[in-house]
Amino acid sequence: MNSRFRSPRISLPRAVALAGAMAVSLTAVTAEAHGIWFAQRAKQLALIYGVGADDLDMVKRLPMVEKIEAYDADYQPIKAAARVAGAIVVIDSDAQPTVVAAVMPYGIWSRAGTDEWERKTLQEMPNATASTRNTKYAVSIVGPLSKPLAPLPGQVVQIIPAGPIPTMLGAALKYVVLYNGKPVAGAKVINDMVNDPDARPEVTGADGTVTLPVRNQGLNVIRAEYIGPTDQPKLYSQVEHTATLAFTLAHAPE
């Protein structure tokens, strides 16, 4: 299996069944569980690629990152860039940010039946039964919010907390998943892609929301996956968006 695309989200029997169904037409599938998110590493803000406990090689993927943005408490932009620091990628911003964001296009992938995913278009793999263009998005709330989190430029899919973030784990928090800036139904949301990556996702309703208990008294990385329509039907049959929202709750005094 290609190491850059190693987590098909469909089981083998399901894949076989899908392959049969897709003999007639290409079917929408969620194919890639990995995402990008921000987390603290040695005091600094780092950009992470992976899923679950797999903190994978972000340095080699850094050329794929299209956009790194930082914002102050009024959502005014702050100049920011990614920097390789040994084995990790850290974010250097010109001022202390309140919010940071990143976009990483992850290419076009196709597969035939249950074969491995390959970095090919439909034109390059005419017998493909599934084909997708993937993009990863990440937003992190670094500093305290003085106003609700805004839809950010470049975040085609974005998770927004619909209310104040609680100070203690276990409290319910409603999230709105935006697609092109508007609430979208059908996005699959999990509460913790680091510590519970295989959780059964909640699906956003007509208002684009899901409500979940805040899971961790520490780093929380919420993930939303949304399959959008293709804009290049000759090259791929869908666009798969994987978005994360990261924030932290403070721990108790020591």
Binding site: D72, D74, I78, Q96, T98, I141
Partner: protein, 125 residues
Amino acid sequence: MKKLATTLCAFAALGLSAPVLAHGSTKPQHGGVVQMNGETLFELVAQPGGVSLYMIDEDEPVNAAGMTAKLSVSTGGKRADVAMTPMKGNQFFAKGLKLPKGANVGVQVTSKASGARYGATFAIK
């Protein structure tokens, strides 16, 4: 000396809680207000002649000469970034700077040795 012209308050009640409580002392030592980022304490002190920043790492004062520091004062959608001058010990100073009520103040320090950048955010009330 006049009491602090400006009262600085942490943001904890305004939505997200910043990383507030962690390692070492969290008490202000210069009459200012404190924000923690992990094991690093930032103390911001508004004074008649400007604004001071004191930095402590796990109860050890950080040598200001080994760092650069910047304050970013955001009010009404506009931000002013002010470089601070390293002083003796763990103090940085921004001469003549005032912190208006309602401002958000980002503190960012950069290690001259490693390039590591980190900081905290204060709200001015």
